[in-house]
Symmetry: C2
Subunit: 262 residues, 2 copies
Amino acid sequence: MKIAISGKGGVGKTLLASLLSKTFAEAGYSVIAIDADPDANLASTLGFPEADKITPISQMKELIAERTGTQPGQADIFFKLNPKVDDFPEKYSAKHDGIRLMVMGRVKKGGTGCYCSENTLLQALLAHLLLARNEVVILDMEAGIEHLGRGTAQAVDKLIVVVEPGRQSLETAHRISKLAQDIGLLSIAAVGNKIRSKSDREFLISSMPGFEFLGFIPYDQAIIDADLANLPPGDSSQQVITEVRNIYQALLSTTKTPNPTK
Amino acid sequence: MKIAISGKGGVGKTLLASLLSKTFAEAGYSVIAIDADPDANLASTLGFPEADKITPISQMKELIAERTGTQPGQADIFFKLNPKVDDFPEKYSAKHDGIRLMVMGRVKKGGTGCYCSENTLLQALLAHLLLARNEVVILDMEAGIEHLGRGTAQAVDKLIVVVEPGRQSLETAHRISKLAQDIGLLSIAAVGNKIRSKSDREFLISSMPGFEFLGFIPYDQAIIDADLANLPPGDSSQQVITEVRNIYQALLSTTKTPNPTK
């Protein structure tokens, strides 16, 4: 099962990615969680010890140079489009509580070199993870799906767009949905987060006609309090955990799934 | 005065950018507001009519081709590094309530061309706006400042990092601060948003030692309600407007400012 999670910044993508990863791992699946959002910290949300010491792939200059055939720091007009990446998940990941985590990192933009080689390496790695691995892969993305090419997108079993009661998050959801259709990613579903009332839920449903909703995660002040106390927020709210388990069940029943591998 | 606003997704960058733009415009300044965050909609937050009909610069394929010397849709290995952009603010902006708005748009990543020409055009445009214009420029950025090069960054009078009571927004703030120092942007300040209590405020101050705080915007449910009712959220809360006026005064007193131009 390959799951990509997107949505506007701040809606709770990382929280959902971390809790889904834990739920799959507890059910006996091998899980690779991918932090592909430079504006998030999946490692700390998952409770990884020394989360800030994990080096993102995009910062491994020598590795990028070796695999793409470029020179570090030089403009990279010529570079390999299919760099070798199949050893990355074992070599360049951290593991905790049965979850293997990879951090993609931020690719700097602009300049004359345009950092094509870093981007190419990350895209090749994503393609490998989505197309050639048997694990459950859970991808915490930014507010867009540009890292998915046409070929890779079709390997995604479900693109989950997280929304909250707020127009900006709906606009982003509709934009992501359109981008997804453009690259042939047709299996999209939504998850509502920070739901305070029945009317919040109805607002989201009526604003997103045609969207399948996998679930609605309640707003819980305990999540914010845990975060401020530097505790993994996902462990702090039983009602949130329960709803993520329902979302997990909804995923299993609406997508094809590999057998659990341990 | 050139102000750049950054911070984690969802903290309220766009709200602050829109209210600061309005405050400067009401005081008689010529204001250019720049939406440089693909995950935001400054136009609708500013209450621009037909906000969704403004074409982002990054989507003007023929314009990009003309100014950078590339062919639309082709790999752009050779292109002009200093495309002409000085006519853009007049030609490619919308105007409403005395505020001129430009939307940069989303530059797609990846692929063999790496969209270097689009990035170069947007960077040249930002450089022009920051270095060669007399207006007050307010830049609503994403959770990073990669669009600012070393030369342009030094033209920013103040980089405002918006934070909310939450560890992720603090992590992002520290990361942005480090990136800013790397490119010589030393005039950084913070604004706290979604402040519910004195302890929220104290949490932010104690978590960001050495940061100058320009102000603390209170949490107000009226902002969310206005947003859900499709009204410009910034008009709905007098206490938020009042605090943004204080921030405006703090900006005037801590940065060099041009005389108001009308």
